[in-house]
Symmetry: D2
Subunit: 437 residues, 4 copies
């Protein structure tokens, strides 16, 4: 966890205090269910909840000190609770195993993390939608291979991003539900010493579903799927960040990250206005993705469980969620305040001497009776001249002067092929598909 790439709510979710609070809730709800089943005295549950009602501070240092002796975190926590509550606390954790607490706690944390990330995605989607509609009909050049292709609109670029992040949101909802299970099944998961109804009670109270078959641990394919889903979302962040970085290039400059007054782009070069936020997002995407492989390696635990997954999750649990939360918020800010330059987009559109309309001419020639191969040849030989002139020659002019072309298409027909609106006629269709009608 790197403070500069953290936001408070997500960071708090992974604090020791939050973890201990969740542990308490799991243990105390389990105690309630035991008491209801007559396994433990009702007084025990009352004493424990009574203490909790006093809103006691979590003494993390004291718990750490006990753990330094016992070398076991859950026992340390229970020992501290017993110190606070008194002898009634001795019924806590009865028939349970540490993993019941740890794995269910992790499920709660990942579920809450997913909820924060879903809210982040909603905020990003809102901004993308607003700016997409703002630039729904702002023409700009579409580029394949970094080379001018045909016109699109800036709104279409954002609509694509919207659709992509909407998919990411749907996948995250699925991954959240997949990972949000509760296991209170005792050693090796047989419920030998704990009634399955206790698990059901805790699951309901903690907002989880029950784990159908645990083996002391909740199976790690659930977590692998969760982190893989974060990795896909991170890759979508990289895609949109890369788009902004490209648009801000000196030679392109169709859009720009907002540049705050007083900000310094470079200690050496005062003129610089750099896309540092989106470059940073590119790096953060790599960080989030780096959680995927260890999460996959965590699946194949030995027999009913080993603890190799635990250290991995201490890193990737906080790091992947905190970093993705930060990255989504940062990206939302970038898009929200993005400086967009329609004049420059138009200027770039025009700089290729009309080459972007070459396909329409190709089709028209075909429809006028030329073979596909001949049409291609006719267009290409004129297009190449324009290309080599660096946009100084005009494709339309050259075509009008090519007798093989004019034998098939009149000047007026040729001119009609260079109309920009032709390319924008289905923007509404696409927006309807993406945002609904």
């Amino acid at each position: 966890m790197i403070p500069r790439y953290s936001r408070p709510d997500m960071a708090a979710l992974w604090s020791p205090e939050t973890r201990y609070r969740i542990w308490f809730e799991i243990e105390a709800h389990a105690l309630d269910a035991m008491a209801a089943l007559g396994v433990v005295p009702k007084e025990s549950a009352e004493a424990v909840w009574g203490w909790w009602a006093t809103n006691p501070a979590i003494d993390v240092e004291r718990i750490d000190a006990i753990e330094a002796v016992t070398k076991h975190d859950v026992i340390a926590f229970l020992t501290w609770v017993a110190e606070e509550v008194g002898p009634q606390a001795r019924f806590l954790h009865q028939g349970m195993t540490s993993s019941d607490v740890l794995d269910t706690c992790l499920a709660v944390q990942l579920k809450r993390a997913a909820d924060l990330l879903i809210a982040d995605l909603d905020a990003l989607l809102d901004v993308l939608k607003r700016r997409a509609y703002e630039h729904k009909l702002t023409p700009t050049i579409g580029r394949s291979h970094g080379i001018h292709a045909e016109p699109v609109t800036f709104g279409l670029k954002l609509a694509q991003a919207y659709a992509e992040f909407a998919r990411g949101r749907a996948r995250l909802v699925a991954a959240r539900d997949d990972v949000a299970t509760c296991a209170i099944s005792g050693a090796v998961g047989t419920f030998a010493n704990i009634d399955p109804r206790i698990e059901a009670h805790v699951a309901e109270k903690m907002g989880l579903s029950i784990e159908p078959v645990s083996t002391q641990v909740i199976p790690r394919d659930r977590h692998a799927m969760f982190f893989a889903t974060l990795g896909v979302i991170a890759s979508s962040i990289e895609r949109l960040a890369t788009e902004v970085r490209h648009l801000q290039r000196t030679e392109v400059l169709e859009a720009e990250e907002y540049f705050a007054p007083g900000q310094k782009g470079s200690s050496a070069m005062p003129h610089k206005r750099n896309p540092v936020l989106t470059e940073n997002l590119t790096g953060l995407a790599r960080v989030v993705r780096s959680a995927v492989t260890p999460a996959l390696e965590n699946v194949a635990l030995w027999h009913e469980r080993d603890i190799s997954h635990s250290s991995v999750e201490r890193y990737i649990g906080p790091d992947a969620t905190i970093t993705l939360d930060f990255a989504l918020a940062r990206l939302t800010g970038v898009i929200d305040k993005l400086l967009v330059y329609p004049e420059r987009m138009q200027k770039n559109l025009d700089r290729m001497g009309g080459l972007v309309h070459s396909q329409r001419v190709l089709l028209a020639l075909t429809q006028a009776g030329a073979s596909r191969e001949d049409s291609y040849r006719l267009v290409q030989r004129n297009a190449m001249k324009v290309w080599e002139s660096d946009g100084k020659l005009s494709l339309l002019d050259l075509l009008k002067a090519d007798p093989e072309v004019t034998a098939l298409l009149s000047p007026a027909e040729l001119e009609e092929k260079f109309d920009l609106d032709y390319h924008l006629k289905h923007v509404d269709t696409i927006f309807d598909r993406v945002f609904g009608q």
Copy 2:
């Protein structure tokens, strides 16, 4: 693609011939739709489909030869079709771009691959269910950290695997539907030269949904999610394969891969019977997983598209699906024919002098009034003696001889704590959860 790790149906799906057949279908269905819209002559579509009805062989070598000149695969294919069909073929591909064909074809291939994999999973699930019920009540030791913990049944192990692969199946269905989209939207995806109704027609005919917003290419977050899902399933294969490898260890030998007569385990050591299939599966899982990172790196294409994803997909498309198909089938065979040794399981269960019952004694002492800490100490001091005797001492005997223990629990009460059935009483509950009632 490694022939020894391939099965014919999946391999055929990735052959040049299959690819060209799918290309034809996409182009020809698009032509139908164009003809219906009056954009091209109906005769063109009739000519093309008429030729197809003659069931022509796909001349892969000829297409390759054309591509060697044009350096463009789709143009090479269309040129070949034109050679075969004649001039009516010139209306094919009108307003379309190569990516319309390539990306929609890949969607078809990945969808069909997913269907094969889902069938593989179904076969595996069947076998797991059968063998889980066969050994529903076969007692065996549950192990955490590779150390004997408490009794489970062999059926529970397989039920866990069933639940895990059932989750994998559900995720694969979602990933399949996510990746199965059709884009026929022309250069940079604006439908400038092709009516969106053509896309809708092709999508329906090819069993795909439409891509709401493509940018010449179908966005690669879909593919990333697909390969990530394969990676999670591969990790589950690794988990079950690792279980078998452990069970077959010389000292454990509770189960064994089927050993065919005439098979040689080692060229040097004739006595060897090695878990080579599950070791192989462990390696194949690594191979499938290795597709995940490049698939994630493929997401951030530049602007409306670049072609960096293409070479990656030429490898991982076939490799990940063919390898996973093979691995699932191999795993199904391993489980189907797995030699299971219940006597050995019982023998291993008994070898620790009753230590596996220590938790029940712990709980009983607590319930008899001892503090948790005292109970733990009483059990541990006797358990350690048994442990150090390598199972020669009996925990029950030692407890009966410990006055601090007998002050709390009578010999009869102690004996009752060493009953195996106690651990199996919720197996039905778990089976009901996993397999339904």
Copy 3:
């Protein structure tokens, strides 16, 4: 292995025939050494080498057929040799284990692959050096964050690439030597049934060093290091390929992949000239890198060996080396024939109204007595105006008109700060460092 991304020498190295030839050499050299030690009859070695001297064809199909029965590749091979040679062949492989043959063969293959790759790197380095000197003093804008920074030369860009690939070459030499070890140590590596002098003899004959301690297998940290090194080289390929892709962007167009007459850039847009080779290299880099993680996962074999590494190596051994060989050769071709446009570089250099000289002014102001903060402010306020004018205003003109600036620097002093040669004065120093004096 994808044929279109393969070159013949490297592909041949991974053919079954080459593998069997190497197996033969290992077995036959070992037999020689056994005969020299008197362990086997000299006639046996003579018979085996005598057969080999007839240059027998390797009957891959026959060997495959035997393996289909024995399910063991080395036994199948030895059985075939025995069929060919007759009873004297029965002394082959005595005291050896399959891994002795397989692992030593893989070492030979990886060493030869490394030699091919080193030759590839030498060819690339030659081309980089030639073109670096060709453009040693061709001015071009240096860019940080994609934004114009200060002038560099195009030769410096290539010198950087040269230095990077020279490092890659040195690392590959080290990785080659690391992986090129011979193990002929028998089951579990104790030499119980085979004299260590046999290993020494085979090692010398095959051009390998001896493996100091093998455990039936050669330890896989060696292979992990090898594939990791390939992954780093692949990443350097991605870096240089990305540079070319950027330079070829329509708006930048300072360099361009060679475009063959008759080549079609796009089936739909005849005007396109796309950087498809370098985009392809970007994807191929991802493929090579994808071998790193499974190679790392292969290290932790169980006890003296398991066979999980084997299937992984069947994929990544050929794929990573063949792909990298192809990619290096393709990159060499791209750089060799790269179209470089110095006029366009100059035009781009000039387009920012002299902003690229802002740092020199900053330093001059500091040296003229202004505080660093004041200097920065003075430059930035003028630079921002130029920036916002899209290069229409001139920084030099604005500075000359700023009284706070002219209070510190005279017009002549300001003009001197806008001299391009100032930036190139240490190019020789850098070239001397990179290429030697």
Copy 4:
């Protein structure tokens, strides 16, 4: 950085204070060199070093506060220094760019980190060597595929680990020297505003070599190689940790992690003694390895530099080195105090009824004139009976009773084949190879 997996020296290396101290040294040494060249007043350097000689506390909070305004870390630091030193500090950083400081600082940190890790490796190698000699001739069963193969010694296992970590050490030395370069080359690396002799001076003072050609940044292939090397070492840790985990399995129990008095293995099962340290190491290995892919992705920066690498390095720089440092120290402790049980090793060796000697019999039969195929068949048919008896039958007895066998080998000859020392005769050879004579 996870405190529980950190050790103080390595953690301190990555603290803000250490970073600022290194920044100061770089800037101040550069200032010295500038003063020596007459570029800045000598008084400036004297003032700066004079202040430093007062051993001033680094006011991290103040620097953070300035950065919150400037949004630029190096400028914030220099501003703070100027506040402390006064106007003479204005000559600091002249002609330099932030990357000169940041990248050279990172090189210093990675070099120092490597030195700590090399010391860790030395400590581990010492322990491995001591325990290897202690158990040089302690017989134990060698296992391939988890199945008993032939005898080895426990010392050989440790000698293998020694050789593997010695390779890791050599690779780390190379990676350290590779990454330890100094770049003080100014914006885009041309030395336009800074003399190359300044770089040479700083390099010497900081214990680095000069970067031959930087482009504002030090090329990231160096860092990629560094982290890849850490990943290989981590994988070797996983291998040895996995060995211990296997040996501690209940059924094997040939070795055991030291178990401290008062330690609790399980909150629920008091009898457990789990290999939790080596399981933890398995997970930590995954964490260190997870740095490799993002480090590889960092190589392809855009043009002369972008800043996408920076956020990645903020995570993996500390995480990979701190975690590996902790893991090496933990592994050293595990091996140092490992409880080794030679009696149990012997017992396991004997449990297979002599099957581990099967190869010797196979070879003897061949040498007595049987074909390899017949020999294999004769041994296998007896070995399979022993195998199926679970070690109750004796291979020697069965062979003595097999007339086809006794036709070739006398009882005395057979008995001689079951001698354990036969397998240990080359242990000295291997130890000499590994540890030197």
